[in-house]
């Protein structure tokens, strides 16, 4: 197969999906950290600035939560690429996730900036569990599609 636009799309999608997998993992870790925050073993003997640790961790978590929009954009981007390359099957496979992203973003809580998560409700156990589940599902989806793009 010659090096067509479609092939280029798949290669690009492959790379981007790798990035998305990375995002998804980060997302999962972030929520896990949120959830188990207080159980985190901060060594009692080593009281050397546990707070600094904590601040660092929280910054990391916040960063992860901010990666949502890039993730959506990347996904939208290679969906468009597939559309241009008229790869209907690949596009079809991605449509459900695309629709989900659109819905998720539309129904986000009222806020002025971009973002999906409301810091005041994120600690609610239901929401936390939902987000964790969401993270795992997405990770699975991205992994599958990664191999699909690899061999497709």
């Amino acid at each position: 197969m010659a090096f067509t636009f479609a092939a280029f799309c798949y290669m690009l999608a492959l790379l981007l999906t790798a990035a998305l997998i990375f995002f998804a993992i980060w997302h999962i870790i972030a929520f896990d950290e949120l959830k188990t925050d207080y159980k985190n073993p901060i060594d009692q003997c080593n009281t050397l600035n546990p707070t600094v640790e904590k601040v660092k961790k929280i910054k990391r978590v916040r960063l992860a939560l901010k990666l949502v929009l890039p993730e959506y954009l990347i996904h939208v981007f290679f969906c468009i690429m597939f559309l241009c390359a008229t790869e209907w099957l690949s596009l079809g496979l991605n449509m459900p996730l695309l629709a989900y992203h659109v819905w998720r973003y539309m129904s986000r809580p009222v806020m002025s900036g971009p973002g999906l998560y409301d810091p005041t409700t994120i600690m609610n156990a239901d929401i936390l569990a939902f987000c964790q589940k969401e993270g795992w599902c997405k990770l699975a989806f991205y992994l599958l599609s990664f191999f699909y793009y690899l061999y497709g």
């Binding site: 949120l34 959830k35 188990t36 925050d37 207080y38 159980k39 985190n40 073993p41 901060i42 060594d43 009692q44 009281t47 546990p50 707070t51 904590k54 601040v55 929280i58 809580p109 009222v110 806020m111 002025s112 900036g113 810091p119 005041t120 600690m123 609610n124 156990a125 239901d126």
Partner: protein, 1198 residues
């Protein structure tokens, strides 16, 4: 710890804050620290250790994060908050403009303010100096001049006599007139009399603190059969006060009597806290508590009591005989009784009056039965000292509560209570000794637990207890229950925790905690210690429910890790003895306060800082609120909690933001105007917040002048957002409290809002839109505030729509409070003016804690699902509360993550770390212990219907915000249906026709109906959006006791009050009329009725009401002469008037905020708001209670 006295002082949290807080606290002040020990040293208290079967130690130990050590500041700032505090002060391109710029008349181009604009008169008010040459509005500005209306100086001026003037009440060390009994408490010094003084003070039940109730079941070591006096069914439990107190002197006499120890009975009635605890410890447990207590009573009711109580007492004593040396255990019956017989005096509010007759005999029977059981146990297993302590003496009194809270379990051998699965539980929990007693009891008593008595709601009409509904008592072994946290502070919806989540799901009841952690407490043990003993793995504070394995090791009751007992802890400052760690106050009190050492601080404790942000637009001036607020503040200036570092500041705003320079040395306050509201900055950062003590004169000047300064303003715009931003910047270096007074929709600057309410939709039966905020500006700002330890309290005084749904966010997430005064006007609505004054009085003077966090821990296996209340959740179990006040409550939904199979009890611990207004870092710890059960019947037996209702209400509020109102309503109905269905299928042994509930849940359908008709959730009745949202806010953060009145008000008939069954408090006799159903059917034209809905009292007078009542109580000649608006009862010198007023003031004393009384006639305009509380009746848009029951029945039986 060097000396015991220093080590352990018995003052309350407020102890050192002279005027800071609820009057109750003054009780404590008179106690010289360490006073308890003099007496304490004499005797030791028997040891009480939780009898827990040894539990497996969990394999994994968690190291938990350093509790409370995360930096409050840095962590949780909203994204927008990048500006370091430093930059804050710099305006756009101008570096710190010199102050002089604003002062002088020569205001040529101050970079900042539009000082000289054409609109000068309105927008820029020059420094408030009379000498402004060119100011058009100079007259206005000159206001602070002495000529302006002299503000009332005497702070007590407008508080009528019934309220005890706070000054005298709690001014530390001010010698008050001895004639006033309440005051006298402060100065009693000798130990015994102190005890009585403390007690006495409580009986006075100072106005604000909901007084005694909390004492009720928590009592650590209440000695002696005092509780017995409560037992006689005919009398309200409160009787015990009456029994002691009229004979004030005799009360003392008793205490001075050789029975040093047993004098505790006096305390026992009330004291939760230290003194009583210690008092008890003093008491030689086995001493028969002097029967003389019992007979003191001159009052009306008691006589029947004393014989009974003394009798039962003796029967109770016999088995014990001489103190069994082996069982140092129980201060005999007394404590048991206390645990089971709830509350003393004021608690009577919460207490039900037991039904006479049959129950009485039952008491005797059961008591005997139990005792015999107990005796067996004691005889057979004398060596089992510890376990035996749990066993018996308890049972009988439990019955007293039956009518209300059937499960008065602590008292009863468990097997009797729980037919199903009781054996295993009981054995496990209590050990062999218990078994003996249980068996002994079983022979004689096979009845089903009262809590589970099946009731057919369709047939039984009169379900309301005569008095208030009492919470069920957990079925714990007696000595654990005695140490358990007061239900006033800590309450669980299910007092028997299901073993697994699936069992919980089957029962369909919500599992959660209701907390009132910073409640004003009359007595609170305070411990100063260089090391606070905590579990090394989960950081739990040591508490009464831990197990001591031996002298040097204790096992955490939350994570089961075994910890070392530190050296200091071996010394007991109470008894001044060494080697008795289990007798330390930490292990004897479920509620305790620690003075925290410096590890608990991230920065030096902040001073008390108060900032007032006042709306001065035309609309605001029109309502005239400014005058009330300034006057109230002026009066309360000295009552503001704080120390020498206290700071205060003011900001006003219309379309511009005005600051007030109050720097020391100025002759008058200066006003600085910033009109650049798009990019607000602080003109002179260091002179806007000033030390209250140093600049008191200027502050007073300002307060006197402020109301007049804006009287002619024409500015209608309102820039709330920028003003809040300014407040945030001003306070961010320190943190503190912002009080915002707002009267209209914010219209300019950031945070401007648009009216979203369509008045025509107010009554729509469909969904109510706009319950969610329109903008997240307020939420983000609140999070920023929370990060900087700033709390915002919102006072909304407005007739029009203000979009409270958006505005409330500022308080909700910064742990502030919302107060709403619809249609406030100083002339048209005098009742609200009075209400505001009263509320402010409380608001200014109540206790406050700064930069606080609260962590809720629970036994491994349980986990926290959701929090409800006003706060920011910082971590799964950590709430960030920039301020904590005594009037806020919290709810916590729990879930069961792992099965609690091999546990008999689980514990919950709430720890509140805060900086007191005196700059001390303190930790208040509450611990609650509950049994675990594994059958449906047991779960239902322990259901606490009030707590369930409170939690359901909070959950429904959440639901109506995230989903929709109709969803929330459905969810409420479904909650009732599901739980009844679950009971029908799982908890009920014999199927019966009709709608069957267990006795303990019999009020649930009623409360659900009441919730559906509550302002927050009702549909079809015209409700303003703001009022609806406000009701929702209240549902979420009111403490349960007040919440229940709001949901289901109490109705009393008051035209025929008699002294029958009355209780005596101080020297007043307070009649106790029965609570009536909220149905018009109960009203009659020839009576008059008092409805207590928490924040308002209505006195409804029927057309044909006895002329006697009208003339003797209302002081008017005839029914038609009753004025349209009447908010005071005249002080007439008649028996009827005295009784009515005593009753009303007694009701008022039980809550922190003062409810206004409205006297209404049948045709008054307020009648509608009275009638809307008649929840059992049908309205055009809602079902009646009976119809609702039919609906439930249909659904349940489907």
């Amino acid at each position: 710890m060097s000396s015991p006295a220093a080590g352990l002082s018995s003052q309350n949290g407020a102890g050192r804050q002279a005027c800071s807080n609820g009057p109750i606290q003054n009780l404590i002040m008179m106690q010289a620290p360490g006073r308890g020990y003099n007496t304490a040293a004499q005797t030791m208290h028997p040891q009480h250790m939780p009898a827990k079967a040894p539990l497996e130690q969990p394999a994994g130990q968690y190291h938990y994060g350093c509790y409370q050590s995360s930096p409050p500041v840095s962590v949780y700032q909203g994204p927008g908050q990048s500006a370091p505090p430093v930059s804050v002060y710099q305006g756009p391109g101008q570096s710190a403009p010199p102050v002089s710029m604003y002062q002088g008349p020569g205001h040529s181009a101050p970079p900042v303010s539009m000082y000289q604009g054409p609109r000068q008169t309105n927008m820029t008010r020059p420094p408030m100096r009379p000498l402004q040459p060119h100011q058009a509005g100079s007259a206005r500005i000159a206001a602070p001049a002495p000529s302006s209306t002299p503000p009332p100086v005497c702070s007590n001026s407008f508080y009528p006599g019934s309220q005890i003037p706070p000054h005298s009440q709690w001014a530390y060390g001010t010698p008050p007139p001895m004639s006033q009994p309440s005051v006298a408490t402060n100065h009693v010094t000798s130990a015994p009399s102190q005890l009585s003084a403390a007690r006495y003070g409580i009986q006075n039940s100072p106005p604000q603190g909901p007084p005694a109730p909390l004492n009720t079941s928590v009592q650590p070591g209440q000695p002696s059969g005092y509780g017995m006096q409560n037992s006689p069914p005919q009398r309200p439990p409160a009787s015990l006060n009456s029994s002691v107190q009229p004979g004030q002197p005799s009360g003392y006499g008793i205490q001075n009597s050789p029975l040093q120890g047993p004098s505790a009975p006096l305390n026992s009635s009330v004291q939760p806290g230290q003194p009583s605890g210690y008092g008890i410890q003093n008491s030689p447990p086995q001493r028969p508590p002097a029967p003389l207590n019992i007979s003191v009573q001159p009052g009306p009711a008691p006589p029947p009591v004393s014989p009974l109580s003394s009798q039962s007492y003796q029967s109770g004593r016999q088995p014990f005989g001489p103190p069994p040396p082996v069982r140092p255990e129980a201060p005999p019956t007394g404590q048991l009784n206390n645990a089971a017989t709830p509350p003393p005096p004021a608690a009577a509010a919460k207490q039900e009056v037991p039904v006479p007759g049959a129950e009485r005999t039952q008491i005797h029977n059961s008591f005997d039965a139990l005792e015999s059981g107990g005796r067996n146990a004691a005889q057979h297993h004398p060596q089992m000292g510890r376990a035996v302590g749990l066993s018996y003496p308890s049972l009988p009194l439990g019955y007293q509560n039956m009518a209300v809270s059937p499960c008065a379990p602590g008292m009863q051998p468990l097997s009797q209570r729980y037919p199903a699965g009781a054996q295993s539980f009981q054995q496990a929990a209590l050990g062999p000794a218990q078994l003996g007693s249980a068996l002994g009891g079983m022979n004689l008593q096979q009845s089903q637990p009262e809590a589970l008595r099946a009731i057919n709601l369709l047939q039984e009409r009169n379900l309301l207890p005569r008095g208030p509904v009492t919470p069920p008592v957990p079925c714990l072994p007696q000595d654990l229950q005695r140490l358990n946290c007061s239900p006033e502070v800590f309450r669980c919806t299910l007092t028997n925790i299901p073993q697994t989540q699936s069992l919980l799901n089957k029962a369909k009841l919500p599992l959660g905690l209701l907390l009132h952690p910073f409640k004003d407490m009359s007595q609170l043990p305070v411990v100063t210690s260089s090391t606070i003993v905590r579990c090394r793995s989960c950081r739990t504070y040591i508490n009464p429910f831990v197990t001591f394995l031996d002298q040097r090791r204790w096992k955490c009751n939350l994570c089961y890790r075994v910890n070392e007992v530190p050296e200091e802890f071996m010394y007991n400052p109470v008894s001044r003895s060494y080697g008795e760690p289990h007798k330390r106050p930490e292990v004897q009190n479920p509620t305790i306060e620690f003075i925290a050492p410096s590890e608990y601080m991230l920065r030096p404790p902040q001073p008390a800082v108060y900032l007032f942000v006042l709306d001065v637009s035309h609309n605001a001036v029109e309502t005239g609120y400014l005058d009330t607020v300034c006057r109230s503040l002026l009066d309360s200036l000295s009552l503001l909690p704080g120390d020498t570092r206290t700071k205060i500041g003011f900001i006003t705003f219309d379309s511009t933001v005005h600051f007030y320079n109050l720097q020391e040395g100025l002759s008058q306050p200066q006003m600085l105007v910033v009109s650049d509201i798009e990019d607000i900055f602080i003109p002179t950062p260091d002179s806007l917040l000033v030390n209250l003590n140093e600049c008191k004169e200027l502050v007073q000047d300002l307060l006197k002048g402020l109301p007049q300064m804006f009287t002619r303003t024409l500015e209608t715009q309102c820039a709330l957002g920028p003003a809040l931003q300014a407040a945030f910047r001003l306070l961010s270096p320190t943190g503190g409290r912002v009080s915002v007074f707002q009267t209209q929709l914010p219209s300019v600057g950031v945070g401007a809002l648009k009216s979203r309410e369509d008045p025509n939709q107010r009554a729509s039966a469909k969904d109510i839109p706009h319950l969610t905020p329109a903008t997240d500006f307020y939420k983000k700002l609140a999070l920023d505030c929370s990060g900087q330890q700033i709390a915002v309290d919102l006072f909304l005084l407005s007739g029009q729509y203000c979009d409270l749904a958006s505005l409330a966010c500022i308080s909700k997430y910064s742990a502030g409070g919302v107060h709403y005064y619809p249609s406030y006007h100083h002339l048209h609505n005098p009742a609200q003016v009075e209400q505001l004054q009263r509320d402010l009085k409380r608001y200014f003077s109540r206790k406050i804690g700064f930069e606080s966090v609260m962590r809720v821990r629970c036994t491994k296996g349980l986990s926290i699902h959701t929090f409800h209340g006003n706060f920011f959740v910082r971590s799964t179990d950590l709430l960030s509360l920039p301020n904590i006040n005594p009037d806020s409550g919290f709810a916590v939904q729990m879930s069961i993550e792992e099965n609690l199979v091999d546990m008999q009890v689980v514990s919950f611990q709430a720890a509140l770390l805060y900086t007191s207004s005196k700059g001390e870092r303190r930790i208040r710890v509450h611990t609650l212990c509950l049994p675990v059960v594994n059958s449906m019947a047991d779960i239902f037996a322990g259901a606490d219907v009030q707590a369930i209702t409170g939690l359901l209400a909070s959950m429904a509020v959440d639901r109506s915000v995230t989903a929709s109102l109709s969803d929330a309503r459905d969810a409420l109905v479904n909650a009732a249906i599901d739980s009844l269905r679950a009971y029908r299928s799982g908890g009920l042994s014999v199927q019966q026709p009709g709608l069957v509930t267990p006795a303990c849940l019999r009020l649930l359908p009623l409360y659900v109906v009441a919730l559906l008709k509550q302002k927050a959730f009702r549909t079809g009745t015209s409700t303003r959006l703001d009022e609806r949202v406000f009701a929702m806010c209240q549902l979420k953060y009111q403490p349960l006791a007040y919440l229940m009145l709001m949901i289901h008000p109490a109705l009393y008939r008051v035209d025929n009050l008699t002294d029958e069954g009355a209780i005596s408090i101080a020297d007043r006799t307070v009649p106790q009329p029965a609570t009536l159903q909220l149905s018009v059917e109960k009203l009659s034209r020839d009576g008059s009725f008092l409805m207590d809905s928490g924040s308002v009292l209505y006195l409804w007078v029927g057309r044909n009401c006895a002329p006697n009542f009208i003339t003797q109580v209302l002081g008017v000649p005839s029914y038609t002469a009753i004025p349209q608006t009447m908010t005071q009862l005249p002080e007439l010198d008649t028996a009827e008037s005295t009784r009515t007023r005593a009753f009303i003031s007694w009701l008022r004393e039980q809550r922190p905020f003062y409810p206004i009384l409205h006297v209404i006639r049948e045709e008054s305009p307020l009648k509608a708001s009275f009638m809307q509380h008649m929840v059992e009746d049908r309205t055009e848009s809602a079902l009646s209670y009976y119809e609702f029951l039919l609906h439930l029945q249909q659904q349940v039986n489907k």
